[in-house]
């Protein structure tokens, strides 16, 4: 058993945290710079742009590294967003705390002041929360555009913009930097298309005409006039009573997308599909459990789309079965576990001490495995099952025999897909085929080969995408494509991040004003707290949470520690500004932040200042490119719980490591440690 002191002034753990976190600087904010991760043993490389993937690729043999990993994984498991913020703040606060230690601030004072400071900030920023309901109202009403062919509600909601010409000119003025590509100019009004042509970028000549970047025009993509779209793959079909056809969530999705345009569109179509279904069934408006992804590397990213049903990859032989089965409704079976002879349910121990005696050899019976194969196939054909979805693996031989018998067996199906098919088709999942009874089999499944919107043939090497549907199936598959296979993981990660952001926004029922508004208020608030305590420093210490033990010591050091807390947010804002090119250097960013802080302080109420800035789109407008004017055009919102939890987890980790003064290494490596170069650091018990 070995024991090592962690030098208190130059705390090793905090230094490790700070250096690990520095790798994630560029992953912050809406404009992330991706990183290449190269596996030296296989020479394979992968593009990453999330803190989780970064942490997975780093060497985390140190205890602090392990804890950082655990913290980031926990945030990822719970929220799927906020990990980069967490990672960044871990680094920033580790550095700030190290500086406090340099100034001889006692550990207990740092711990109590910082955690109280963060609590106070979290309370303060509650004034920057806005309910999802209000966001929708505001965003939807401000986005409605005139459309002569549309219903009356349009005109009511947008009487400020009765003249389409004026409205569109206004747009031209406010967002000159955006490229506007009309999807199908002939389908719009004359005025629209004329103006659009004026704004068209060189991309307009491309055959695939789409609207991008401007959410004014993206409304067109979902408008009933663009009926050329394949209804199974693009946003919606039919008309809605909503004034702006975002189904209450589309604009929120955009505001949460932080410039993640392609995924925002996918999310919007999920919302549209689920809204349509919710209207029929009255169920939840946005259900994350009914979404799965299917990754198709090799296709350009523009082919990404949302498909009702389950899209998955099968072998060409199996695809041939699908052609044979046609579009008949099929009987479907769901199995949990593997579909192999040796598989037994969890908790079953196979006896090893059983010997089977064969009295009269029967030569006709063939190999022992054949019995199982024949029985299984027999069961499937007798109950006329044509489609089997298996949670685990499928025996290769059975797969072949099934293909020969025109039965499609799909393995490695996620649990939520099984549940959705069970619900829609009436199938009851079984563990063994021998359990099969008539009541277990579902019906009405339909199979087809998945084709891209333009009917382009899939060339994905050995696998063919197929789509499985059942009437009443609520499942949606996000088909994610990218021409660069190394980006596949990244595309999928970014998709889920956005989906979860909307999910959490709805679960919280509220969102934060985004684009740094919350962080600026935290920064200004913690600085104000520091100034306050400076004034009070000579007065008698007040009793605080940790009781008499910590109250006395913390009062004196409060200003220094609160400044350290503030520096976390200041560095955060500066890094985001640099990443989004709102500032060319850290220095410039700091100056800008100082400028805003001063103005906020002068204005008397920092929260009022931040609110005003957000309303007028001063400092906090979102989107990757800074634009002038039009605040509504690119309003950005953030998740409330995910963000505050990321802060809290980051601070908790830093304080946890800060309070650690020693490592105790147990286990059989004592001899290795004794002989290691660092052996002088260790003491042995």
């Amino acid at each position: 058993m070995a024991f090592r002191d962690v030098n208190s002034r130059r705390h090793i753990g905090l230094q490790q945290l700070s250096s690990l976190a520095s790798a994630g600087r560029t992953l912050l904010g809406p404009m992330k710079s991706c990183k290449f991760v190269v596996d030296e043993s296989t020479n394979q490389s992968m593009l990453i742009c999330s803190a989780v993937r970064l942490i997975e690729s780093l060497d985390l043999s140190s205890a602090a590294g392990q804890l950082l990993n655990e913290t980031i994984q926990a945030q990822n498991k719970e929220f799927k967003t906020g990990m980069s913020t967490l990672l960044f703040l871990v680094g920033a606060w580790s550095n700030a705390v190290l500086e406090c230690l340099q100034q001889n601030v006692p550990v207990s004072a740092i711990v109590s002041v910082m955690s109280e400071g963060l609590n106070s900030c979290c309370e303060k920023v509650q004034c920057l929360q806005i309910s999802v309901h209000d966001v929708n109202k505001e965003l939807c009403s401000s986005s409605v555009r005139p459309n002569t062919s549309s219903s009356k509600t349009y005109e009511v909601a947008c009487d400020g913009f009765l003249n389409p010409q004026i409205f569109l000119c206004l747009q031209k003025e406010v967002s000159p930097s955006k490229e506007l590509v009309p999807r199908n100019s002939c389908s719009h009004q004359e005025a629209d298309s004329n103006l659009n042509k004026g704004l068209v970028s060189p991309l307009a000549d491309c055959k695939q005409k789409r609207l991008t970047h401007s959410r004014y025009f993206s409304a067109l993509a979902t408008s009933p006039s663009s009926s050329q779209l394949d209804d199974s793959q693009v946003c919606l079909s039919g008309q809605s009573a909503h004034p702006c056809e975002c189904y209450g969530l589309g604009h929120l999705a955009r505001a949460l997308s932080h410039g993640n345009e392609p995924n925002m569109k996918l999310l919007k179509s999920i919302v549209a599909y689920q809204h349509e279904r919710a209207e029929c069934s009255g169920s939840n408006q946005f259900n994350i459990a009914e979404v799965v992804t299917c990754c198709l590397p090799g296709l350009p990213e523009s082919y990404s789309c949302i498909c009702p049903g389950f899209v998955t990859l099968v072998s060409p032989e199996q695809a041939a079965v699908i052609k044979h089965l046609g579009d008949k409704p099929l009987r479907i079976l769901l199995t949990e576990g593997d579909l192999t002879e040796a598989y037994r349910h969890l908790g079953f121990t196979k006896p090893r001490n059983i010997r089977t005696v064969l009295e009269r050899p029967d030569l006709q019976e063939g190999r022992p495995g054949d019995v199982w194969l024949n029985t299984s196939l027999d069961i499937l054909t007798r109950s006329q099952v044509s489609l089997v979805l298996v949670k685990g693996h499928v025996c290769e031989n059975l797969l072949e025999r099934c293909v020969a018998n025109k039965i499609l067996v799909v393995g490695s199906v996620p649990q939520k897909v099984l549940s959705a098919f069970g619900e829609a088709s009436g199938a009851q999942p079984v563990t063994y085929l021998t359990q099969l009874s008539a009541s277990c089999v579902g019906s009405g499944a339909q199979l087809e080969l998945w084709t891209a919107s333009d009917g382009r043939a899939m060339d994905l090497g050995e696998l063919v995408p197929v789509r499985i549907r059942v009437r009443g199936l609520t499942l949606l598959t996000a088909v994610l494509t990218t021409a660069v296979p190394a980006k596949m993981q990244l595309v999928e990660d970014r998709f889920w991040t956005l989906v979860y952001r909307l999910h959490h926004a709805l679960r919280d029922g509220k969102v934060f004003l985004g684009g740094g508004a919350v962080e600026l208020l935290c920064l200004s608030h913690s600085q104000a707290l520091a100034k306050q305590t400076l004034k009070l420093a000579n007065k008698k210490p007040v009793k605080e949470f940790h009781g008499p033990w910590l109250a006395a010591s913390s009062a004196e050091y409060k200003p220094v520690v609160l400044q350290a807390l503030a520096s976390g947010w200041s560095q955060y804002l500066a890094a985001v500004m640099c990443n989004t090119a709102k500032a060319t250097s850290l220095f410039e960013a700091q100056t800008l932040i100082e400028h805003h802080l001063k103005k906020a302080a002068d204005c008397g109420s920092p929260s009022a200042y931040v609110l005003k800035e957000f309303q007028t789109g001063g400092m906090f407008q979102g989107g990757p490119v800074p634009s002038t004017g039009s605040a509504e055009g690119c309003r950005v919102y953030d998740n409330v719980t995910a963000k505050t939890e990321a802060w809290r987890r980051a601070l908790d980790l830093v304080l946890l490591v800060l309070q650690t003064d020693a490592e105790i290494i147990s286990g059989p490596q004592t001899n290795q440690l004794l002989n290691s170069p660092a052996s002088s650091e260790f003491m042995f018990l």
Binding site: Q66, A74, H345, R352, P541, H546, W549, S553, L673
Partner: protein, 571 residues
């Protein structure tokens, strides 16, 4: 052919305590434990050095459990502290630090160890008599009709574990939950012998502490697919569901498969016959109108299917930890065989429903009479959750010990310093005549008493890691000042409350620095009992745990001092 090896001779070490290596290890251990003590204690990272799980803790149970000490002297020490912790949960660090300090202090005295042992036993009984007496100035009685003292006890346990990473709101929330959970476990109708129920901790890691909650009855985790399909349960009356509880595996694997070889004829499947037996069990359960089957281990999917088709709810893989409370709660006897069981084993439940916390799904079993409850415990990550779980279990145990002996000791170091000044006063006021018959001199007695008291004081001083500790001469309590200040003549400017929070700085209490060195000034009077005993936010310690800790520490120190030689078998 086996190889014979000559036996190695045993190793004989005489006077182990005089060896340098032992002293060094002992003082290192003391340093580690002292640095962990109290709400501002420093944390330890315990890991295996090869990238495994990292445990961050300041609790003796976690540290001593993972510490592998090699020297027999240290082994004796850690073993007796661990034994204390197993029985009382709390005051492990107190015991260990006091024991180490006693050994270190006694060892350096020019007094034969037998005399040391004799005198320290005397001093121990002086302490224990005082603590048990009505006149004791450092204890408060616990009034169970008022929650305040109970809340203080629990809060003190939680705040003394900094690695739980709780803020004030979270501490308050959990304190309420733990007391509430404890209340659930007290039976409503007490007959001759009252037995406390049980609180089962349900882990929900990754969520906020404020999401924690307490529910009456039991929660058993169940996979999602089953969750979606829980049918309406067969009831025998509107508020009664018959439940069968199995502690034997029903997965259909063969009974006792490890012994000998079984030969079967081709075409006979033991698996099938086992399954048939299980289905017979199923038939019996259905006939007996059982509505819920809970199995500690796995149930065969075919049996599950059969039971579900007959409207019997099935929960398997319940785990060992819920078996005892489940049996207590439902009055059912766990069935240990699938071959024969009588209907008298069945118990009953009031209701069953489902609950979700985060991504986890549970079956919630609601009993008629609540003596069992579930504490759904959340914390943000694994390390801090583990620490919090230990802290909550300690707090629950403290409440259980307190109901047996409704007393609490003042915390925050005040009991230790008060006790030390009481002993100092008592031993100084002894007349020379009382040593006439003793086989030791008064000087020897004074030396030992001084060492004893400074050991107690050094435990109190361990509470401070950045600050100075003072003691007052009126009550003998502990006070804390930040270390940065130059030695001030007027301490009262800096002090607000004493360690336990019972005394506030309203009068000049004549403070002095508390430093665990020998030769502290002799108190002029016996330390007083604080006049007010009803402050709101007192720091309180468990009486039973500290009382035992004190005894264990002194007796273990005596045992170690008494060691003359160690004989080590080297084979």
């Amino acid at each position: 052919m086996s190889r014979l090896e000559a036996k190695k001779p045993s190793l004989f070490i005489s006077d182990p305590l005089t060896k340098d290596a032992v002293s060094q290890s002992l003082s290192l251990l003391n340093r580690i434990l002292k640095s962990c003590y109290g709400p501002a204690g420093r944390l330890k990272q315990l890991h295996n050095g090869v990238g495994g799980y990292v445990c961050i803790t300041s609790q003796s149970s976690a540290i001593l459990g993972r510490l592998s000490v090699s020297h027999p002297v240290l082994k004796v020490l850690t073993a007796s502290v661990q034994n204390h912790v197993a029985r009382f949960s709390d005051c492990g660090l107190f015991t260990a630090i006091l024991c180490c300090s006693l050994i270190e202090n006694f060892k350096s005295l020019p007094v034969p160890s037998c005399t040391v042992i004799k005198i320290s036993k005397d001093l121990l009984s002086l302490c224990t008599d005082y603590l048990k007496s009505e006149a004791c100035g450092c204890r408060v009685s616990v009034d169970f009709s008022n929650l305040k003292t109970l809340l203080c006890l629990v809060r003190s346990v939680l705040t003394s574990k900094p690695a739980c990473m709780l803020n004030a709101t979270e501490v308050d929330h959990l304190t309420m939950l733990i007391v509430k959970a404890f209340m659930f476990t007290i039976p409503c109708h007490v007959e001759t012998k009252a037995v406390l129920g049980k609180c089962v901790t349900v882990p929900v890691k990754g969520r906020r502490v404020l999401d924690s909650t307490v529910l009456p009855g039991l929660l058993i985790e169940t996979p999602e697919i089953q969750f979606a399909k829980l049918l309406s349960v067969k009831r025998i009356s509107s508020d009664a569901i018959k439940i069968a509880l199995f502690c034997v595996s029903m997965s259909g694997d063969l009974f006792n498969p490890e012994e000998g070889m079984i030969t079967v004829h081709h075409g006979i499947s033991l698996e099938m016959s086992e399954l048939n037996q299980l289905l017979n069990v199923g038939k019996q359960l259905v006939n007996d109108e059982v509505g819920l089957v809970v199995c500690q281990k796995v149930i065969h999917p075919s049996l599950k299917q059969y039971l579900k088709e007959n409207q019997v709810m099935v929960v398997d893989r319940a785990g060992l930890s819920v078996m005892e409370p489940l049996s207590q709660m439902t009055g059912s006897k766990p069935i240990a065989s699938i071959h024969s069981f009588s209907p008298s084993c069945y118990g009953s439940l009031k209701d069953v429903c489902t609950k979700s916390f985060g991504s986890k799904h549970f079956v919630h079993l609601i009993p008629n009479d609540t003596v069992v409850c579930s504490l759904v415990l959340c914390n943000r990550n694994e390390t801090t959750w583990d620490e919090l779980k230990r802290a909550c279990e300690t707090a629950e145990h403290v409440l259980q010990l307190t109901i047996k002996e409704p007393l609490a000791l003042l915390g925050g170091g005040c009991t230790e310093s008060h006790l030390a000044s009481y002993i100092r006063y008592k031993t100084c006021s002894l007349s020379t005549s009382s040593f006439k018959d003793a086989d030791y001199s008064q000087t020897q007695y004074q030396l030992i008493a001084d060492a004893f008291c400074s050991s107690l004081e050094s435990v109190a001083c361990s509470l401070s890691h950045d600050d100075e500790i003072l003691t007052d001469t009126v009550y003998g309590h502990c006070w804390l000042v930040p270390s940065g200040f130059p030695s001030v003549s007027n301490w009262s400017d800096l002090l607000s409350k004493c360690g336990c929070g019972i005394n506030s700085n309203t009068q000049n209490l004549n403070w002095r620095l508390l430093r665990p060195h020998f030769g502290s000034p002799t108190p002029q009077s016996c330390p007083e009992e604080p006049s007010v005993k009803a402050a709101d936010l007192l720091t309180l310690d468990c009486f039973a745990a500290k009382y035992s800790g004190l005894q264990v520490a002194v007796e273990t120190a005596n045992l170690i001092l008494d060691l003359k030689c160690i004989i080590e078998d080297q084979n």
